[in-house]
């Protein structure tokens, strides 16, 4: 390419480079190597300083340069600086290439000759490469200010209110008939012991009434298309069989309905009707019909609800439908599940009636729960002794390797709630390590120590009802090594509570496909960076908040929801974002339609156009990894600024010395 007029600049970096590399020799070598193309080759003390940059700008004008090469530090350090200088000089910033002769040469090489030779090779490679560069334009994408939030637990609620309060439209999609999530099931919350309903209900109501929030309960996201700023989302609105516009929430239908089913909200410890609202403070506080148990849907008889409904809100023939919405950003806040107790047969859940899960216990102490807040065994008796078993399924390589983070604290909370009601009840905490790391948490632990709870440091391996002596009869036996004392103890109790591991939602994997983000080995959504981008995902414009990212308590969940809201507001405020420049594309003529690339793209940016029998790349989705390019057997796919010919030129140059 003889019309290239290249300016070469070799930096001393004080003595950082010049102390090891003979920079004058390197600069001369470049000129001699390609005397026709290299118009000017200089060395200078500090290229990144203002005078250094001015040198480039001035030379472009004076020598009519159209390509710039700087041999200095790592491009990760100053590529931007020199691209800007190049642009300021009046040529496209991509007609620039950098050679790293500091981090990769002067700082790591002992011998001066070897360093100088290596620097030459890297510089010649850059010269070869820059000859093949092309002008590239920066692009921007407009951001639609509407926001989708998936999941209406405390995470989704918090984020929705913050974004809506800032004046933006929010669609909140919740799978179940009411928002509230797991927090709605809790009794008191550690460490301050606020009543969960008291702090949550006002927030739920605000969501229900907020003019900027469109609440879509009993709904699920089915499909997401598009990219940051411009997502098209299909939401499945499951038929509620009740017209919520007309319904006044009077509850008469529920009273009259003859069909009962176990109430999931109460962990099946109480019944609900076929037409029901899941709990008294539900938002929206209007019922849905569970078609799987309603006799009308099963065999066409009943309709009692319809008969008694004053406003005529019952809609038996309502159908599931798909609603399409357009948003610019998305927050996933789909929460967690508890590991099923049945998956750990050694703890006898189901075989021994008085083995309870942690959630069952939350409902048991809750004054609006199935026992009206009375802690009783399944036979209805007051327990005289209770064992609380930590780390059930957590910190266990057979099940979940991680620590669930909240169970130590809620186990302490349980002890307190028990002691509050039954002062003389013997409460045993079987723990491995007491993890109380939040603000005020250790203090809460200390308080429990004073309340006279028994702490046994040792894990219970199994629960049986096998008595070995009269005092054990009719009890559940906790056999554990008291590791502090070094003795195995058998402790009989009336009730055992399993602090089960928090686990990712089983559908998280499927959601990660729908939203093009990823899940880690345990099924939690993966953040972009664990410390520096904890609520971002690998897909721009899609954020995560709350326990769907990993086990978390409410303070952390709320903090994260706020962070996710801030990220979204940041996008909205900016109005547009810069798109990746070094994206890939496909030469239509060359593409054989083999579809190798389609499979490989981590961002589903490539689609196969069946009509043309060619693959196409959506430039807005492509993040520029180049994987498709590396795999394309026809050479049809190419990546901007990393074209094959550019890399071949670099290879040629690097081996020319």
């Amino acid at each position: 390419m003889s019309n290239c007029r290249i300016g070469v600049y070799v930096c001393h970096c004080g003595s950082n480079i010049a102390g090891k590399v003979r920079v004058d020799e390197v600069a001369r070598y470049a000129k001699d190597y390609a005397p026709d193309e290299v118009v000017i080759s200089r060395e200078y003390k500090y290229m990144c300083s203002d005078p250094g940059q001015d040198l480039i700008k001035k030379d472009i004008k004076e020598f009519n340069l159209n390509r710039i090469v700087v041999a200095s530090c790592s491009p990760l350090m100053h590529e931007k600086t020199f691209r800007n200088a190049t642009a300021d000089g009046g040529i496209n910033p991509f007609f620039f290439q950098m050679a790293n002769i500091r981090e990769h040469v002067s700082w790591v090489t002992e011998d001066e000759n070897a360093a100088t030779e290596k620097a030459k090779a890297l510089l010649i490679a850059a010269i070869h490469r820059v000859m093949h560069h092309e002008a590239l334009e920066k692009r921007t994408v407009h951001i639609n200010p509407q926001v989708l939030i998936v999941g209406g637990g405390i995470a989704g609620i918090t984020a929705a209110l913050q974004i809506a309060d800032a004046g933006n439209k929010v669609f909140l999609v919740e799978k179940s008939p009411s928002i509230g999530g797991h927090m709605a099931q809790l009794d008191k919350t550690f460490p301050t012991l606020d009543c969960s309903a008291c702090i949550l209900t006002p927030k739920m109501t605000s969501v229900g009434q907020h003019p900027n929030i469109t609440l879509m309960t009993y709904s699920e996201v089915q499909e997401v298309n598009g990219y940051v700023g411009n997502f098209k989302v299909k939401v499945l609105r499951k038929a509620k069989s009740v017209d919520h516009e007309k319904c006044t929430g009077c509850g008469v239908c529920t009273q009259k309905c003859p069909m009962k089913a176990p109430n999931e909200f109460e962990l099946n410890m109480a019944p609900r009707k076929a037409i029901y609202t899941p709990f008294p403070q539900a938002v929206p506080n209007k019922p849905v019909i569970d078609k799987t148990i309603c006799t009308y849907y099963k065999n066409g008889r009943c309709k009692a609800c319809e008969k008694f409904c004053g406003p005529g809100a019952i809609l038996f023939d309502e159908q599931d439908r798909i609603e399409e919405i357009e948003v610019g950003s998305i927050i996933l806040a789909t929460g967690y599940d508890l590991k099923t107790a049945e998956s750990l047969p050694e703890y006898g859940f189901g075989r021994y009636p008085n083995v309870f899960t942690a959630f069952e216990f939350e409902r048991l102490v809750n004054s609006s729960g199935p026992t009206g807040g009375k802690i009783v065994t399944r036979e209805g008796k007051e327990p005289k002794s209770i064992g609380i078993l930590h780390c059930i399924g957590s910190r266990d390589k057979k099940y979940c390797e991680y620590c669930s983070r909240v169970c130590c604290m809620y186990a302490l909370k349980f002890s307190h709630l028990i002691k509050e009601k039954y002062h003389d009840c013997e409460v045993y905490q079987f723990y491995i390590d007491m993890r109380c790391f939040g603000k005020g948490y250790e203090e809460f632990y200390n308080r429990l120590l004073k309340e006279g709870v028994n702490f046994v440091r040792g894990k219970v391996a199994e629960i049986t009802d096998a008595a070995l002596e009269p005092s054990e009869e009719g009890k559940l036996i906790m056999r554990a090594e008291d590791t502090m004392i070094g003795t195995v103890r058998r402790i009989p109790v009336d009730m055992a509570i399993l602090c089960l591991a928090m686990v990712a939602k089983p559908e998280a994997k499927e959601l990660s496909h729908i939203f093009s983000c990823s899940v880690g080995k345990d099924g939690w959504f993966t953040e972009k960076h664990p410390k520096l981008a904890p609520v971002s995902t690998a897909s721009d414009g899609i954020f995560i908040a709350g326990a769907c990212q990993g086990p978390k308590d409410i303070p952390d969940t709320v903090a994260q929801a706020g962070a996710a809201a801030a990220e979204v507001l940041n996008l909205i405020q900016r109005g547009e974002v810069e798109a990746e420049v070094v994206t890939a594309d496909i030469e239509e003529d060359l593409c054989s339609g083999c579809r190798t690339c389609v499979e490989l793209c981590p961002y589903t940016a490539i689609t196969y156009n069946a009509e043309k029998k060619k693959s196409e790349i959506n430039g807005a989705l492509c993040k520029g990894c180049g994987t498709c390019v590396g795999a394309c057997p026809s050479g049809a796919a190419y990546q901007r600024n990393f074209r094959d010919e550019q890399i071949y030129a670099e290879i040629k140059g690097i081996l020319a010395v």
Partner: protein, 296 residues
């Protein structure tokens, strides 16, 4: 008639002949038979792993290799001790290809041993043959007989691939298929004492006591085992246990300790299939079981 390879192990040739006898009959009724590995040797047993793991593996490996040379795809092993020893040895052979044990085996003209599938009778009866087939050949359903199935350690642990290591059910299901009532109790896989009854008797006997007491309390009339060593511990040591711990039992549970008949599970199946007491070796059992079986 399906033929399986067969590794008897030393115990069924001495203390547990009745197990082998009844196993053959039961399988015959179910349309299967066993072909013994010619010139098998002792599996090495657990104690062996405590002396020299490589030697133990080599000794067990000889059996696996013979089975393959004799063209057996799978071998049935009635003793769970042998079963586990052979399985662990096979794993070792797979993981240490080309190392010392393989070299020594090759030197003695022994090859392979990694392919043959190792099975326990309970597993083939439950999986390959199935509960329906059992129900079909039952002639004397064991109506009302309360049977405690005892699994012991080594079938379900450490592999855990045949049934749950903590709460297995396959033997209970086999017993139910024979018309009996399965007794639910928490110690189905708790250790029977293993070799401790012989070495550290105090501990061994106490383990036997805990098991028998628990079964008794849950109303078991008969206990079935699936391993000669378990059987030996529960059966032969029972009188000792009764005399040593009878008083403790009475104090704790306010009842006399009543010795339980301990049977090989195949004996109970054989009875349900209509075989005679003599054929099944019922007379070998310390606590006479025949009247109970006959009554059911």
């Amino acid at each position: 008639m399906k033929t399986y390879g067969y590794y008897p192990g030393c115990s069924v040739r001495s203390s547990s002949k009745a197990y082998e006898k009844s196993l053959f009959l039961v399988l015959k009724s179910l349309g299967a038979q066993l072909k013994e590995i010619d010139d098998w040797n002792c599996c090495g047993a657990t104690a062996y792993f405590g002396t020299d793991k490589k030697m133990a593996t080599a000794i067990a490996g000889r059996n696996l290799s013979l089975a393959e040379q004799q063209k057996m795809d799978d071998i049935v092993i009635p003793c769970t001790g042998c079963y586990l020893t052979l399985r662990k040895s096979q794993d070792y052979l797979k993981e240490h290809q080309g190392e010392i044990v393989h070299k020594a085996m090759n030197g003695a003209g022994l090859k392979g041993g990694e392919k043959v599938a190792l099975r326990h009778p309970v597993e083939i009866i439950h999986k390959d043959i199935g509960l329906e087939a059992i129900a079909k050949v039952v002639k004397r359903p064991l109506k009302g007989l309360k049977v405690a199935s005892y699994y012991g350690c080594q079938l379900v642990r450490p592999y855990g691939d045949i049934d749950d290591p903590y709460h297995p059910v396959i033997l209970d299901e086999i017993m139910t298929a024979c018309g009996a009532e399965a007794v639910e109790y928490p110690y189905k896989t708790r250790c029977c004492g293993g070799a401790l009854t012989g070495t550290v008797e105090d501990v061994g006997l106490r383990l036997v006591y805990i098991l028998l007491a628990e079964m008794q309390k849950r109303g078991a009339q008969v206990v079935v085992t699936m391993c000669p060593l378990c059987h030996m511990n529960l059966d032969a040591f029972q009188s000792k246990v009764a005399s040593r711990f009878g008083a403790e039992y009475k104090k704790s549970f306010r009842k006399e300790y009543k010795p339980l008949p301990i049977l090989h599970f195949t004996q109970v199946m054989g009875w349900a299939f209509g075989y005679k007491s003599k054929e099944l070796g019922l007379g070998d059992i310390m606590v006479e079981p025949k009247s109970l079986l006959a009554a059911s």
